[in-house]
Symmetry: C2
Subunit: 362 residues, 2 copies
């Protein structure tokens, strides 16, 4: 059921206005501000039809119109002008990206903070990691009671741990253990580190003090931690700036939901591999708590087998265009920096495919 060009134009105008003002838009305002070349009466007729078609709705009989999720969907898919970020903005994002990533290596937190700052909505970043293995095992002897474990993972992350013992070990033992672990603990997955393997290593090392199990425990811990998808949410408080969250309870509910960030994962299930930006509008979200909010998600290549996700959460009345553009750029920048592939030309990367989930349009 294709709708006329004019209807589309009017719908776009309604959404644009509503995004800006958060107030239902009336025919008069529309006739004045959007240059549609027809009178308010005509617009009224069109609006009434758009309501019938399900793209708009009225909070009450004598109020203006507000987009429905379906209206937003059409807007996002076809109508909104893909916002081109200015060169300055692009450069700003890239600059901040560089800065942030150097500052600390706790990247995922930084990515989410940055996304939140740029868009002024709460943002979350998460990574899913496919099974990681250990690439290298080093033990640094500090003194008779102390050593440092250094683990290098297949994805090139390096983890360390200082171990302090209540008894002494000699340097030979340390060397022996190091060799043994490098021989039998590298290249295997978490579930291959069995009690059997540990005890046989223990025997081989002639270790009667339980060192082997300390080291193995650390290995397990690191692998477990790296395999677990990590999530980081920031800028929750920005929600309170939005008029739709004047209701404290509503805001509280969503914020609590966000703070336990992992929950968002179901939404991320259908992980995109491309670099498109995806928009989930209101009821399209699986999570009950998000049913009247929208989420914009971009995914990026975070290096060896790892994909990262950046998401921005806001009211359905969200500035989709701007958020999508910024998030796309951010994701592209991250892929460029972290991804395994060769770096693309450093020019402005504005190619942005907005793809949504049409499945529940009826």
């Amino acid at each position: 059921m294709a709708i006329s060009e004019r209807k589309k134009k009017i719908l776009a105008a309604v959404v644009d206005a509503y995004i800006q003002t958060a107030e239902p838009v009336g025919s008069k305002t529309l006739a004045q501000n959007a240059c549609l070349g027809c009178s308010s009466a005509t617009i009224r007729n069109e609006l009434a039809e758009l309501v019938n078609l399900g793209y708009l709705e009225q909070p009450h009989t004598s109020a203006g119109r507000v987009p429905t999720p379906m209206g937003y969907r059409l807007y996002v898919n076809e109508l909104m002008e893909k916002q081109k970020l200015s060169i300055e903005e692009t450069e700003d994002i890239n600059r901040r990206l560089n800065q942030k990533l150097q500052e600390l290596d706790d990247t995922i937190g930084n990515v989410s903070r940055l996304a939140s700052q740029l868009t002024d909505y709460p943002a979350l970043a998460l990574t899913t990691q496919t099974a990681v293995t250990i690439k290298r095992f080093d033990i640094i002897y500090v003194d008779a009671n102390t050593f440092i474990l250094v683990l290098m993972l297949a994805n090139n992350a390096v983890r360390n741990k200082l171990v302090h013992l209540p008894f002494s070990v000699d340097q030979n033992m340390i060397q022996r253990l190091s060799a043994l672990f490098n021989a039998s603990f590298t290249g295997i997955a978490e579930d291959e580190i069995t009690p059997l393997l540990i005890s046989s290593t223990e025997r081989a090392a002639n270790d009667s003090m339980g060192l082997t199990s300390v080291i193995a425990a650390f290995a397990l811990e690191v692998l477990g931690e790296s395999a677990a998808p990590a999530a980081f949410v920031s800028g929750e408080n920005r929600l309170l700036g939005q008029p739709e969250f004047r209701d404290v309870d509503k805001a509280h509910r969503l914020m609590s939901y966000l703070t336990g960030g992992g929950h968002i994962l179901p939404a991320a299930e259908s992980f995109g591999t491309g670099e498109e930006v995806r928009v989930l509008i209101g009821p399209e979200n699986v999570a009950e708590e998000l049913k009247d909010s929208s989420v914009v998600i971009a995914s990026y290549d975070a290096g060896d087998n790892t994909r990262g996700l950046i998401g921005v959460i806001g009211p359905t009345r969200m500035d989709y265009s701007a958020v999508a553009a910024k998030l796309g750029l951010l994701a592209a920048g991250l892929s460029r920096r972290l991804g395994g592939g060769e770096a693309p030309p450093p020019g402005v990367n504005n190619k942005l495919i907005i793809k949504g989930d049409d499945s529940n349009d009826r």
Copy 2:
């Protein structure tokens, strides 16, 4: 100007009731619930005097009474019964502390999260670090283009960094650099790592490829990062659960302030060295944004020259007793685990000195 015992008892009852209900307390309720052995009329007289003395106030003529900051101050200093945590609670805190600290070594974030969970108020944790030095320098040779830097600091923190080079180095060079750095870069402070030192090391190592400066840069980065006070706020959204923050704008202001956690530092200036718990009530706070909230702060020994701070933020109508008890226990537990001193006996540690800032009582 000492006030009578009965007045104190009544004041305490008012504060207790108000903390629980968040509603102004009237003479009748007081006569019924608190066992004061006198009628509501008598209480009314006493209440009127307490208002005159400045310990209570009335939101309007025909409402109950609400404590003033001065009233809270007296309550905190003298009246409130120091809450003894039950054995179960104590053990729960200790257990969670152990768990949290093992889970990740990003301790400060965990401390703040834990404090927030325990008290159900937003919490922040911060550390100030006095100059840290490097204790040990290791370089692990991975392959011709790659090595891992491992730095152990005087406070026993270990940091690492994977370095990937666009050219090859041989293992000898790595060894030479490692020895040189251990000889001349350990035990010195950040500002002693001068360009001069770097270039002389570079010459000594016969390094023409700039490796020395890469390593030195990392050392500087780590030292800088460790010296900078780090702050971490969590549980901001719990504010919204408090009736005094039904006003979205008020909540938003405070939450934004909290999110930029570093600002809190001025309040922490007068860093306690003891293990007492300190309470700052409403206007006693320096920061404008906290003028009608209260902060409970505990400090702990975080190992070599480092002190950490845990703070909990809430409305002035805060459950000071419970929060102080929990925070004190948390701080004690942290000191025990992180501090340099020998571990105190593992029994229940309930000794809790509440000390406030009396300076602006008039």
